[in-house]
């Protein structure tokens, strides 16, 4: 079997969620099939500037083929078009312009996919909202498998994405909540499975080494990820500062990851910067719990890693996916206000009554649903199933005049009208 993984960026040191997800899946599926990655020369997800050389490359023994981005993103144009399609009545043509402006616009990549359609059994497209996934799915609909990595963001409400969800041969979801909203918006009824992604969990992380290397002497809660407004960090800082004032003997907060946001100067908040995977796992093992303040997640890999190491998670309850995972795993609590934050934090401390039990549940949840053998098997079962089922018909785009008619509702309103909340298991 020959598989193509199509993703917006690909390199060993790119730590973005969907990109890392794609790399893990490529490396795992390479044990069962011949895998080639098709991607762009971009490294920066904001500008999509061509930084890597076009052509063939090998990353962790996986063959990678890169194509140049024809037009880097213009943030002003993209911002203006985003406001138009997300907040105002608009047309299909506006949405297509928005898609082009978002990028990474690489017609060469799409051309290659079209020409090499017969060379692969299936194309796995990652991240529904980008240029490569939309045009790629339309180029090879009979072989397209989409890994949407969708969050509850306004792009889901665009009228052009629903046909892509419907025409893909299969959807590999990250969570029950993602599946529910996509099926609601697109009315899709085809094959789909909730898979997610595993992680390379070290067998013997060393918490003592982490404490020694980073001079950590007090119990602490850990945040791992980009320190960014979109990740809910300002709210986490505000809550934690109030918590620290109320509980002088409580936990410290340690932050791992690059920061694009000023971090409050507080004696109990420490930023350790970007750390190696080894350090990260040592830190997780040393932590009392992991905090996940993000409101927009399709799957939190770091939460899964915390559970794999038997650590409870305190998640933002406004994120349906995280809340749903906490409930289904019985391995984490969630908050929607400061009071909930402080109460949950108290209960989850290692010296508290719950932390240990939830951690054990998390370990079991990870083993049952996110161990690599389970994930690989779900992909292989899907490939087997699709090879025997007929492909659905391709939906054409609206005609010239219909495409220009500004009758589509604001995408944000479409998403807001979709049902929300954690899904039962």
């Amino acid at each position: 079997m020959k598989l193509a993984i199509v993703v917006q960026r690909y390199a060993a040191d790119i730590a973005g969620g969907a990109e890392l997800h794609a790399r893990y899946i490529a490396e795992r599926l390479a044990r069962h099939a011949s895998v080639e990655v098709l991607t762009t020369c971009a490294r920066d997800y904001i500008t999509w500037k061509n930084e890597l050389p076009p052509g063939e490359d090998t990353v962790n023994r996986i063959r990678v083929r890169r194509f140049p981005v024809s037009t880097p993103r213009n943030p002003n144009t993209f911002g203006a078009l985003s406001r138009t399609v997300f907040e105002q009545p608009h047309s299909v043509a506006d949405e297509l312009r928005w898609l082009d402006s978002e990028g990474p616009t690489s017609p060469d990549l799409i051309q290659h996919i079209r020409h090499q359609a017969d060379a692969f059994d299936f194309f796995l497209f990652f991240s529904y909202r980008y240029y490569h996934a939309w045009h790629g799915c339309r180029a090879v609909p009979s072989k397209a498998i989409l890994v949407p990595t969708a969050e509850r963001d306004p792009a889901l409400g665009l009228s052009i994405v629903a046909p892509i969800f419907r025409m893909a041969r299969a959807l590999m979801y990250n969570s029950h909540e993602e599946r529910a909203i996509i099926e609601h918006i697109s009315q899709r009824q085809g094959p789909g499975v909730i898979v997610g992604v595993g992680s390379e969990i070290p067998e013997h992380p060393q918490p003592a080494r982490f404490r020694r290397n980073h001079q950590v002497r007090r119990p602490f809660a850990l945040y791992i990820g980009r320190i960014d407004e979109n990740k809910g960090c300002p709210e986490m800082f505000a809550h934690f500062q109030r918590y620290a004032a109320e509980r002088p003997h409580g936990l410290d907060l340690l932050l791992i990851g690059s920061s694009v946001l000023p971090i409050p100067k507080h004696p109990r908040i420490r930023h350790l910067g970007f750390l190696s995977d080894e350090d990260k796992f040592d830190g997780l093992a040393a932590a009392d719990l992991l905090i996940m303040p993000s409101q927009y997640e399709s799957l939190s890999m770091v939460a899964l890693e915390a559970w794999a190491l038997g650590k409870p998670v305190l998640a933002n309850g406004r994120c349906d996916v995280l809340k749903g995972q906490c409930i289904r795993s019985n391995a984490g609590l969630y908050y929607e206000s400061f009071e909930e934050f402080v109460n949950a934090l108290f209960l989850l401390e290692a010296s508290g009554p719950l932390g240990g039990i939830l951690g054990r549940n998390g370990r079991e949840f990870f083993r049952r649903h996110y161990s690599w053998s389970v994930i690989e098997q779900k992909y292989l079962d899907m490939f087997r199933r699709l090879s025997t089922e007929p492909a659905p018909a391709v939906e054409p785009l609206p005609g010239f005049f219909a495409r220009r008619s500004r009758v589509l509702p604001p995408a944000a309103a479409v998403v807001a009208a979709a049902p929300s909340g954690a899904e039962p298991a």
Binding site: P219, N343, L347, S351, P353, L354, L358
Partner: protein, 277 residues
């Protein structure tokens, strides 16, 4: 202080005794507790809105102006309101000359032929009344302003008092918090034993309660315990570390004594490796 205590006791209500937990149930308990504490079920957005009201600007003791009423009066005196003018039905035709008054009266029907002076009279009469009411309102405003001023002073004073109380509550709450934390840690590690010998023997000192300890040994044991009381947790060690290790208290006969020590703020259990024996 009462709130802190209640919170601490409610925290212990959620202590989990079994391995199976229900996260949704725990969250319901947390929310019920928060509602009970607040007294009313405000949403976070409502609380944020309340918190953003700029009361501090008025209530900041450093910025408080004690001569506000005086300044208000001075401002009023600097630009006094214009005098009012009584305007009745005949005001328009009034004169002290009798002949002129007679002429005006005579030709009033003729005037009314060209314009309607009644409307002007009515409008000006109303304006006069409005001016009179404004003057009354001004007097009332003066009273309200004075009242507001006094309230501002009072609220500022209360604000300072609340601030002081908050600091005290915070200090007490931290002590309660620490005790709670230590109690939880002890619950997990101490094995309570009720030695029958100790119950039967009428002894004066609690150190003699330890089973198998000869009277001659009690002094040495007591000395060790006093030393242990003075020690705090190892630097660098966390509760997580502590829980994962064996404890001397689980093995020896000191458990009763340690349980008695629970009121001592500086006392925490120590791992076996660092305990004297």
């Amino acid at each position: 202080m009462a709130d802190s205590w209640r919170e601490s006791s409610l925290m212990s209500d959620i202590n989990v005794r079994s391995e199976s937990v229900d996260v949704e149930q725990i969250m319901r308990q947390i929310r019920a507790r928060i509602r009970e504490k607040r007294g009313a079920d405000y949403t976070e957005a409502e609380l944020q809105q309340l918190a953003t009201v700029k009361l501090e600007k008025f209530l900041d003791p450093r910025g408080l102006r004690s001569d506000m009423v005086q300044q208000f009066r001075q401002k009023h005196e600097a630009s006094p309101p214009p005098p009012n003018y009584e305007f009745e039905e005949n005001t328009l035709f009034e004169t002290h000359r009798g002949l002129l008054r007679a002429f005006r009266k005579l030709f009033r029907p003729l005037l009314k032929l060209f314009l309607n002076p009644d409307r002007i009279t009515t409008a000006l009469h109303l304006q006069s009344r409005i001016n009179a009411q404004a003057e009354e309102r001004w007097q009332r405003e003066m009273l309200s302003y004075e009242l507001l001023h006094n309230m501002t002073l009072e609220v500022t004073r209360l604000g300072i008092e609340v601030h002081n109380m908050k600091m005290r509550v915070e200090s007490l709450s931290s002590r309660v918090d620490f005790d709670e934390r230590r109690a939880k840690a002890l619950e997990g590690v101490v094995q309570y034993r009720t030695p029958p010998v100790a119950r039967q023997a009428p002894v004066a000192s609690d150190t003699a309660d330890a089973p198998g300890v000869a009277p001659s040994e009690t002094d040495a044991t007591g000395e060790r315990r006093r030393r242990r009381r003075r020690r705090r947790r190892r630097p660098g060690g966390t509760m997580a570390d502590a829980q994962g290790q064996n404890w001397t208290e689980q093995q020896g006969g000191d458990s009763a004594g340690d349980a008695d020590d629970s009121g001592d703020a500086g006392d925490e259990p120590e791992p076996q490796g660092s305990t004297e024996s």
